[in-house]
């Protein structure tokens, strides 16, 4: 994993010695689904280089907040600045641009395309971003320890390996922020540890990470916990 420190592009990382800028600024954010208010005036800020956990019970609005943070959904009301870009009012096309340029997503179910090899899954993110570069994708897989398994299909990889391929894919376009939704939810203890160690290493390198989890032990391993309850950030 030490290889991560070598040559990994750092666009989305905090610059040491300089005051950290805000990567995420949210103010007065509401999300309503008919009569149900899923997010009820959320205010929060996440600085570059922070490793933050968003926690809360079921129905607290974690998933809704994550969907908005990842530009997969738009708020009903409020302000969401991502790396200086006001995303709350973007149309679908502009949201897609923000997703590929600024956000790396890690999913609980990995979501690798089953008929593409690990390296091709990483190249897919490059393809939508700019152009697929096999060498760069191979290097990214090597950094997460998957070099020898790069040509394998997802079905030939273990859960931990699939999640590491997913992390390599999330990092390949050097996003401003990595958003991980229950990234260890489908992993055994050993792979959970492996993935968390990887996140901590990324954080140590200055990357901005947001982890959505219901697991307090994982939350405790982050820098800061944002607790949601009934769509509001707890004090």
């Amino acid at each position: 994993m030490d290889a991560l420190a070598e040559g990994m592009p750092m666009e989305g990382c905090a610059t040491y010695g300089a005051p950290a800028r805000d990567v995420i600024e949210i103010g007065g954010l509401y999300k309503r689904f008919g009569a149900v208010t899923a997010l009820d005036g959320v205010d929060l800020t996440i600085r570059a280089g922070e490793f933050v956990a968003i926690m809360g019970p079921s129905g607290s609005g974690k998933t809704t907040l994550l969907n908005i943070l990842s530009c997969l959904d738009t708020p009903s009301e409020g302000r969401y600045l991502l790396d200086g870009i006001e995303t709350a009012t973007l149309d679908g096309k502009a949201q897609a641009v923000v997703r590929r340029e600024k956000i790396g997503l890690v999913f609980q179910q990995f979501h690798l395309i089953p008929y593409l090899s690990a390296v091709e899954n990483v190249m897919l993110a490059q393809h939508y971003h700019s152009v697929a570069d096999r060498d760069e994708a191979m290097a990214a897989l090597e950094r997460v320890g998957l070099g020898p398994r790069a040509q394998h299909l997802p079905s030939q990889l273990s859960g931990g390996e699939q999640q590491r391929a997913c992390i390599a894919r999330a990092l390949i376009n050097e996003p401003a922020i990595v958003l991980a939704d229950e990234p260890t939810g489908n992993l055994d203890e050993k792979n959970e540890e492996l993935v968390m160690a990887l996140f901590q290493q990324l954080h140590a390198e200055g990357r901005t990470l947001v982890l959505v989890t219901h697991n307090p032990e994982l939350g405790a391993r982050t820098q800061r916990i944002i607790r949601l309850n009934h769509g509001r950030v707890e004090a």
């Binding site: 997703r99 590929r100 089953p114 008929y115 091709e120 393809h127 096999r134 376009n173």
Partner: protein
Amino acid sequence: MAVAEKPARRGRRGSMFATLLFKALLRRGGRAGVAAASIVVGAAVVAALMSLYLDISIKMSEELRAFGANFYVGPAVAGGERGIAEDTYAAVLREIPNDRMVGASPLLYGIVRLDLGPAVMAGVDFRGLRQISPYWQVEGSWVGVAFDERNAMIGRRLAESMELKVGDTVTVINRERTQNTRLIVKGIVDTGAAEDEQMFVNLSLAQKLLNLPGRVDFAMLSLIAQGPEADAMATRVNAGVPGVEAKPIRKISQSDGQILDKIEGLMALVALTILIITTLCVNATLSAMVAERTPEIGLQKALGAENRAIVSQFLAETALICVAAVAVGLILGFGLAQVLGQAVFNAWVTFRPAVVPLTLIVSLAAALIAAILPVRGAIGVVPARVLKGE
């Protein structure tokens, strides 16, 4: 929106698109195969009918020639003469392009006496008469030599009334009773029309018996021409050979056109029906493919794929399936055209290069129309929902 510059990547734009395209199709070989099979059927029918359509005018004209002559040449009404000179008839034939001529025969009619009574005799060119009268039923055989003055053919009813059989000898006496000619009945003709009451001899013999040397009454021709083309030929003959009136026989020429129109309309209807069925089959298959790939589409969108990229991918997959299917469909369609050509026209259908692009365009259009709703479904995928497994 300001986006930071990224370091240049080394890679070929489009190579990942091609990988995605081929692997997605291979992954769903079964469904892609069903869509391809539908298009193969549609393309084969379209190619076959289009081959027939492009070939049918010639085949139909040849076929319709079986109904007899379709062109008349006789003396100009203004001239007031009986018939035309044999040389004039030869001049008329020179005005007709060889590739349009099926056959022609002059006719010279007169009354003669046979052993048991009078009869109508027609002097003809037997070789030409056989070409313009393929529907005649002949017992015995045709008179095959142009200068044969020893054999004759006789109509069925006349033969019965004169008690003549094939091989019998009949004596023909001219009107002035100055000349007796003995002829062998080589064939008995059954047409169901006036010919059944007539006797047929070579033109040269008829001219001698009727004392009309070098004359014919009129001529009947069978030409490969319909409608305006037949009119144009008549105009050309009338202008080129003075003293004659040439005209298409409307009944047959118009039948040509009407039958052609009906057959072409029927073919278009069959092709349209098959294309609609093909479109529905492809639509159903593509819809199932999109439904199956919803999580994949959601992921692609989450990775930043715009709707345009999703649309391009599905349309390219559809086009790829279509092109492969059309290649097979063209081969099968040409085979089907041969089967239809043999069954309907008793002739091989010529390969027309225009069939290839026309079939491809029609099939692509059908496949892309079929893809409209599935592609709209793909665009409508909400990644936040499908990635959560909803």
